[in-house]
Amino acid sequence: MTEHDARAPGTAIGSEFGTVAASAPVAGAEPILMTRARSQWWDVWDQFSSHKGALAGAAVFLAIVLMVVIGPMIWPLDPTETDIRSRNQGISLVHPLGTDQLGRDIFARVMQGGRISLAVGLTAMALSLVLGTLIGVMAGYFRRLDGPLMRFTDLFLALPLLPLLLVMVLLFREPLTAAFGIETGIFILIVSAIGITSWMQTARIVRGDVLALKEREFVLAARATGTPSRRIVTRHVLPNILSPIMVSATLGIATAIITESALSFLGLGFPPDFPTWGRLLNDGVSYLELYPGRAFWPGLAISLVVLSINYVGDGLRDALDPRIRGR
């Protein structure tokens, strides 16, 4: 019977009752049904929290974020401080993850690297989402823009990304560094390089959803009310494509972190005194046999983040999907 819920609304209202009965009290005239109003976000959380993987993922991710944000403030060792006497050390109390070839504390570096990697992941994701959503919505909503914008998207999809990334990095490194200083400059550069080369999937998904949504009656209702397109988009379209956007977002963070590490591998990432997970991992790979920890810890951090975010994304997908949520 649930199949009914899965299809286009309107085919079977009977199942609506089922849904309501199963998930939230029916608001009727009866006093017993006057329970507190539950927003749909509550429902989403409800479903989300019943997904064990997603919950664990969220916990791990939060823990990592906390560690990375607060860690460097309380951890006494500076990630860039070299201590040549104690280099290449193993695990110890002073250096819980050991030290590198210059005697820098790996724990401090992993935390510091996480700040950058996560910041890159989050901002690049945000950028690609904004771009993708903007283009997707414009293409989906305005029929006249659809053709040009989708050709534009195809163009980006057809552009080989690696050379593009490389060229971007080479081109804008200096002006940005000059304008914002080395750290912010390169940060902006990498974030925009990743963002600009990864919005296309989101745009396509969003466009598809907007096209479907545009035909939904509540958008028509808004048009009949006289709501101008601009507000239809912000009020009716955007909130309803939140679920694919959220899922894209979680995947986006993961890919951005991995892309950043690949950039480091190709020597185009952050400057060397900037520990990012990708860079640490890449540096550690040559020492894999001697000091496996050097590559292991940043590698583990990347994997954990990607893994946890993927689980969160999975959970969100289920939670935001009304068909699944109804069950």
């Binding site: 050709r151 195809d154 050379p163 080479l170 591998f265 990607v306 993927n310």
Partner: protein, 335 residues
Amino acid sequence: MLTFTIRRLLFAIPTLLFIALVIFLLLELAPGDPMANVPLTVPSEVKEQMRVALGLGEPMHIRFWKWIIQFFWIEPLNVFDALFGTGFAEGKLRIISWQNRAPVFIAIAERIPQTLWVVGTAYVVAILIAIPVGIYSAYRQYSIFDQAGTFVTMVGFSVPPFFSGVLVILIFAVQLRWFPSIYDTTLEVNSWEAFGMQVRQMFLPVMVLALQITSQLSRFMRASMLDNLNQDYVRTARAKGLRENTVVLVHVLRNSMIPVVTVIALGVPSIFGGAIITEQVFKVNGIGQLLITAIQANDLPMVQTLTFIFAVLIVLFNLIADVLYGMLDPRIRYD
């Protein structure tokens, strides 16, 4: 369908020309110099002369135009000559690499076999693994198998190949000595023994690549299966008294494969494109490695030709994916 295909092909031409221009301009604007790898002991005047000898002195639009002519006319003529022993292309200047002053297509032709071998095999292996895994995970959603599969695929997705590649080399090539760590591109498979060698040297890169591809494909397969398992026609099939196997492997699978097949088709250009990092790690000197060395050497004709070929392939396979979609799904009729 035919009109659709022709229309898309016609559309592809301006798109590709535009892409060619974009690539050309981007590369043109990029800093870097083909003489960077020439030792510092060579004085700069000499480097300047070498640059001029490469044709760098000419203005940009002329070089672009030349390149377009070479790519679309002279090189195809050369292929024709090579196939039929004719001599149409004689004396015409081909696209010349700056690194070695040889036609870039010679290098590309040399690289295609190993890339196809390794990346292609990995792709096939990945498809063969991903599809059953995806089917079973979806069918038993939230079962142990599904959970474990999800975990493994996500790990596979999250470990960058420059790490996993070196790791398997250390384990299987250095410690266990089961497989070679360096790919021999000169190996000719002309005996069983050579075939065994080939399998052995392909094993590690294929494994690393396949893990990555499997991760993505199996997630896709699973999602697609899940979408279809809830459809009404599945209930109809069950109501007909069909065996569960038939229901899932005939009715659901056929529908689920439609989007997956197009995803697979869309991935094919990446086979030709090679897997840059994996090729680098395993010294499979394929197309990907060619591209990266060309980038490092600022060999613009090579980079440009390669990236443009990728773009052509991407556009082409996009089209193929659309056509496939139309063929697999009887509901879709392009006109």
